[in-house]
């Protein structure tokens, strides 16, 4: 990757993360939607700098659509009866998630050539996480897509059933 693409990647990364944080902290629905659109520009820039221009266009359209939905007239606010302590616990869980993912990225098998660490492989007979990940990302990518879509549909169905039961007297 040449310097121009690297600079674009780092600038887009900063833009996307800053836009995401602005979505959390800005006041006003329009401002938050604008911040989400800015984060979308950053994600699209990341994709484009990684030679995935079409995916960048798709991400840009997706984020713009999400921003329009959240700023549009059909938006309705729903306030849950959840205390602030649970939200703080959730924020700490998000920080723990970042730490876990960053640790996985640092200790993963792909990190060896850059960091000097030995790969984190569970077994040497092809049963390790890196082999499974390579298989899912390359040979069986479409199957992984199908499983992901199935999980999404199942979650949506479970949510619908749960809400239907909740409305019963």
């Amino acid at each position: 990757m040449d310097s121009l693409h690297a600079i674009g990647f780092y600038m887009s990364s900063g833009l996307s993360v800053a836009g995401g944080l602005a979505v959390a902290f800005l006041q006003g629905r329009g401002r938050r939607a604008l911040a989400l659109a800015v984060a979308g520009v950053g994600v699209a820039g990341i994709y484009t700098s990684l030679s995935a221009g079409f995916a960048g266009v798709a991400a840009l359209v997706s984020f713009a659509g999400c921003a329009l939905l959240l700023a549009g007239p059909s938006y309705r606010a729903i306030e849950p009866a959840v205390s602030g302590r649970w939200r703080q616990i959730g924020a700490l869980a998000a920080a723990a998630l970042f730490a876990a993912l960053a640790w996985s990225a640092f200790r993963g098998a792909f990190a060896g050539p850059w960091t000097g660490y030995s790969p984190w492989i569970l077994g040497g007979d092809g049963s390790g996480a890196s082999q499974v990940g390579r298989l899912l990302f390359t040979h069986d990518a479409l199957s992984a897509d199908a499983v992901g879509a199935l999980v999404l549909v199942a979650l949506v169905g479970a949510t619908a059933v749960w809400r239907g039961r909740e409305r019963r007297p």
Binding site: M1, I46, A55, L70, G72, R76, W114
Partner: protein, 91 residues
């Protein structure tokens, strides 16, 4: 200045974590939906990065295809959530 797979995975993990943070930080449940496209964007970044730097025996378009799919799923999930919230609020 160089960019490698580890850098991309760090950015992807940051996006996923920021998305999760947005989802839990906003008191308004409808606006917590804004965290979904961020998390999907982070996952797509990881897929694109792996296909860009890690795939050696397959075309790079597989990871890009997953990223496109995740973008569409994120938009659909937000649309579904806003629609459900609107229906619930009108009752």
């Amino acid at each position: 200045m160089n960019v490698g797979l580890v850098t991309v995975l760090f950015v992807a993990s940051g996006l996923v974590a920021v998305g999760a943070f947005v989802a839990v930080w906003r008191r308004d449940l409808s606006h917590a939906l804004a965290g979904l496209p961020l998390m999907f964007g982070g996952a797509g970044t990881a897929f694109v990065g792996v296909s860009r730097f890690g795939a050696v025996s397959s075309p790079q378009v597989l990871g890009q295809e997953v990223a496109v799919l995740l973008s569409i799923v994120g938009l659909a999930a937000v649309a579904l959530g806003v629609g459900l919230a609107g229906r619930e609020a009108s009752r």
